[in-house]
Symmetry: C2
Subunit: 270 residues, 2 copies
């Protein structure tokens, strides 16, 4: 018997005769209103081919623009190859519901070659996963329980005495139930942080991600190496200003490899 | 007599009957091969309307994907409004040369409203502009002399003994000749950094920006306030890995306002 992981159910695409893809967001990744942004991001990346001709191509960059409210319902994705160069492919994607564009995206796939390499960012120190409790957030939207999150810092408690001037969060995170890491799961996890304004003010606010960009710093072999272990995930904000704030994130593999960096701009009402 | 600034010459667009725009990159912003990425970015942003109906809309986010080599020559830009919501407009743009797409872009314009606001990032300390010499780089591409750059840290000297394990740069920068800051100039300046790999290794390498995302954290009033003073600009890298590295940047106004943050992914051969 083979059981499909809820993540794969939520991003499963059915190719249509006209070259588009059809899918359906599932309750397991529901957010306050509509689906979790990470699952929308993963569905868009999932629509791209993982091979071009004989060559394997890995995503190096992905930007998703959330243009309109999205429902926990059927969606259509169209993809368009904008340019195909020797080492990179540039793609545009659109996600529609009821015939209207709700999200647009661009992605760059690349054939990596071995080169001089170096990491300048430092992995934050954190207690071992096993020493931390799994976060339990009664009343949180469904997508939260599709991850195992173990906070080192910057949890949303909604306790006024936990308000802070540094909204940085640090947590260990993996899919729940565990699932071997791949690029679509990593793309989804780049959005696994609560909005920085919730951490900063320890109160809820009306928010919505406007745009999300993820850079992948690792190849397929590094993700295979990571498998279903927890990633160390860090997120911070630079500025909240008149309705918009940014969030920057780093995702580290269990062995200290920087797997991805990600940035988003978020609308807020406060 | 009215003199047009070289920056405005380089991004000037002529509306065509079919709704597209035509422009021509100028030698003043030439790079090693083709135009400076910042001027391409500015031209794309310049194609968007600054008003929607009666309301002024400011850019909050801009992503440019550099899909193919671009020449110091004529270009066409097409823009398409993907969604128009109450507070935001989502745009797609394409820049073509000789009928082929060379760059794609997405932008979000927004009507900002006064809200609770806070800045978490700290402006780095730096000597006053007047105490630093303007950088002179013989042999540098033309766009470099279209800026006045005064380095505090992380200049490209090509001296092997200046190699470093921290490729961070910090500099004061403004348009040369001086020009009052606006969103298109700020978008261009978000690419005003030498490639991190040049700083790190103090040697040239074949490089090309693949994708650039800028978040604007300020409104028009803050840019007017900044006028033609120097901005404090900081750039760093997180990881160089098998042909690609990222660069993160912050641009601060002279009065300490965080005006923009920016991220790019760069192809390299080394």
């Amino acid at each position: 018997m083979s059981i499909v992981h809820p993540f794969d159910q939520a991003i499963a695409l059915v190719p249509q005769e006209d070259g588009t893809f059809q899918g359906r967001f599932t309750p397991a990744y529901g957010n306050m209103v509509g689906p979790y942004g990470g699952i929308i991001t993963a569905a868009l990346l999932n629509a791209l081919p993982t091979h071009t001709g004989q060559q394997q191509a890995d995503p190096v960059s992905l930007t998703v623009n959330f243009a309109a409210p999205i429902a926990d319902a059927e969606y259509q994705i169209t993809v368009r190859l904008m340019r195909n160069n020797r080492s990179t492919q540039h793609w545009n994607m659109e996600l529609s519901q009821n015939g209207e564009v709700a999200a647009t995206a661009t992605a760059v796939l690349a054939h990596r070659r071995a080169t001089w390499s170096a990491t300048e960012a430092s992995m934050p120190t954190a207690p071992v996963v096993e020493s931390l409790r799994s976060s339990r957030m009664p009343g949180a939207p469904r997508w939260v329980s599709s991850y195992d999150m173990r906070f080192v810092k910057g949890e949303v408690t909604l306790q006024p005495d936990q308000q802070t001037e540094d909204s940085t969060s640090l947590l260990w995170v993996r899919d729940e139930p565990p699932r071997p890491l791949d690029f679509v799961a990593l793309a989804a996890m780049s959005d696994c942080f609560f909005p920085r304004i919730f951490v900063r003010r320890q109160q809820l606010a009306l928010i919505g991600t406007i745009t999300l960009t993820t850079y992948f710093h690792a190849d397929r072999a590094a993700l295979t190496q990571q498998s279903d272990k927890h990633l160390l995930a860090e997120a911070h904000a630079n500025r909240f200003y008149n309705g918009y704030f940014d969030q920057g994130a780093k995702l580290w593999g269990a062995d200290g490899t920087l797997l991805a960096t990600s940035h988003q701009l978020v609308y807020f009402k406060a």
